[in-house]
Amino acid sequence: MVSTDQHAEQRALVDATYDERAIVALAWEALGTVPDPEVPVISIVELGIVRGVAFDGGRLRVEVTPTYSGCPATELIETMIRERLAASGLRDVDLVRRLSPSWTTDWLAPEGKAKLVAFGIAPPHRVENRIDVAGIGPLRRTDAVVPCPRCASPRTRLLSQFGSTACKAQYRCEDCREPFDYFKPH
């Protein structure tokens, strides 16, 4: 948490210096404290959806890409970004929603993946180019092993391709019997 004093200090920095690199660094730092509303243990930076930050002509430009097209958190995240940046003294912000290249779970930061496991969510496998595989998978699929985030057992079973949010699937551990979410490779 950033204290009120620090906020005042940051605002003074923005007003006084207009040092482009310092402001961009400040913006990244601020963005790193905005949590993903649906998986609050990781930040939107660790989630890999902040695609660029630039400061030019007195305005900050932040590029954000949505995770899933229908993600209901997209608008909320944009509001949280504006509020957090404003608290750091960055009020003239252009938020740009960028579609391409489209978000992939391969952009999740390694420390973000560790936080997911600690939170009880199995992190995604690497995607490579899943969608380019000609024809969709073998008919009765044997899924990749998704280890249980609680007891690390490899004996887990897919319950449903869609879980508590569009980005997660539901699994159950056959050893500790606990159900858990799997962050789907995307």
């Binding site: 229908g70 391409s100 008919l139 009765r140 391709q161 869609f162 569009a166």
Partner: protein, 269 residues
């Protein structure tokens, strides 16, 4: 485009607008149908899954309709927003496939409708990632990853229910047969699409039918279901949903979808 008469550019945008509505409307209407399952799914996991698929489609529909509004503005100076397009157009102005507006029926009918649509949707989006229109390619590249999961889920259910109990098998076969005549429209190409195929913007839907059939047949075989052979197709000859000709079901769906904005124009959250 040398010495083309002025209206050609206009026609290009008009055709693109219509095409974007076709893509977006099928997403929005199917999302609405899937949303009807909220609280009615056979088990909690499926309640969640059906509506998550609907949510993906709604998000994709929003991207297509937003772009449609921008193309409209470019073409005639006044473009509608995604909300205006979704909430304030009457049935005849909707360009969705008839397949997606059909009532949910039982879980078998919902899943077969999804199965037929998903396989077409995946190959259509794959083709559109190579569109000459950069925005179309960009939206398709985003959507195709989501739809790959839809296909997996639909295949799983078709196999599980087809190769399930005698009751589930019977219901699946009925749904497979009953919905079959609505699949032809997905691959029918009219003058509007032809014009856009020529400029590299649209995908040639007619070329997608053979691979679609092969994929469908493989899953149906695994599911011990008999592939339909009927050749007569509803709305496939230039008079279907893509041209604004709909079944009697769309009006009822739109009545529910549009009620709030019709009764309280401009209402916001």
């Amino acid at each position: 485009m040398a010495d083309a008469v002025p209206p050609v550019a206009m026609t290009g945008d008009d055709a693109l607008l219509d095409y974007l509505l076709r893509l977006g409307d099928s997403d929005v209407v199917l999302a609405q149908r899937l949303g009807e399952w909220v609280g009615h799914g056979p088990v909690l996991e499926e309640d969640i899954a059906l509506t998550n698929v609907g949510l993906d489609l709604l998000g994709q529909g929003r991207m297509w309709l937003t772009y449609a509004g921008e193309v409209e503005a470019r073409s005639c100076g006044r473009g509608r927003s995604e909300d205006q397009l979704a909430f304030l157009r009457d049935g005849g102005a909707y360009r969705n496939l008839q397949l997606v507006e059909l009532p949910n029926g039982d879980f078998a009918a919902t899943m077969v409708r999804q199965f037929y649509f998903d396989h077409m949707h995946l190959s259509l989006l794959r083709a559109l990632t190579g569109s000459a229109d950069a925005r179309v390619a960009e939206i398709a590249a985003k959507a195709v990853k989501e739809v790959a999961y839809h296909v997996e889920r639909s295949d799983d259910w078709v196999i599980r229910l087809g190769d399930g109990t005698s009751e589930s098998h019977m219901r699946m076969q009925q749904a497979v047969d009953r919905l079959w005549p609505y699949t032809g429209e997905m691959f029918a190409v009219d003058a509007i699409e032809s014009a856009l195929i020529e400029t590299g913007i649209a995908a040639d839907a007619s070329a997608l039918r053979e691979p679609w059939l092969a994929a469908i047949d493989a899953v149906l075989a695994e599911a011990t279901l008999t592939p339909p052979t009927g050749e007569w197709m509803q709305g496939a000859h230039g008079r279907g949903g893509k041209q604004g000709i709909h079944t009697e079901h769309l009006g009822h769906l739109l009545a529910e979808l549009q009620f709030l904005q019709r009764a309280y124009p401009g209402a916001q959250w």
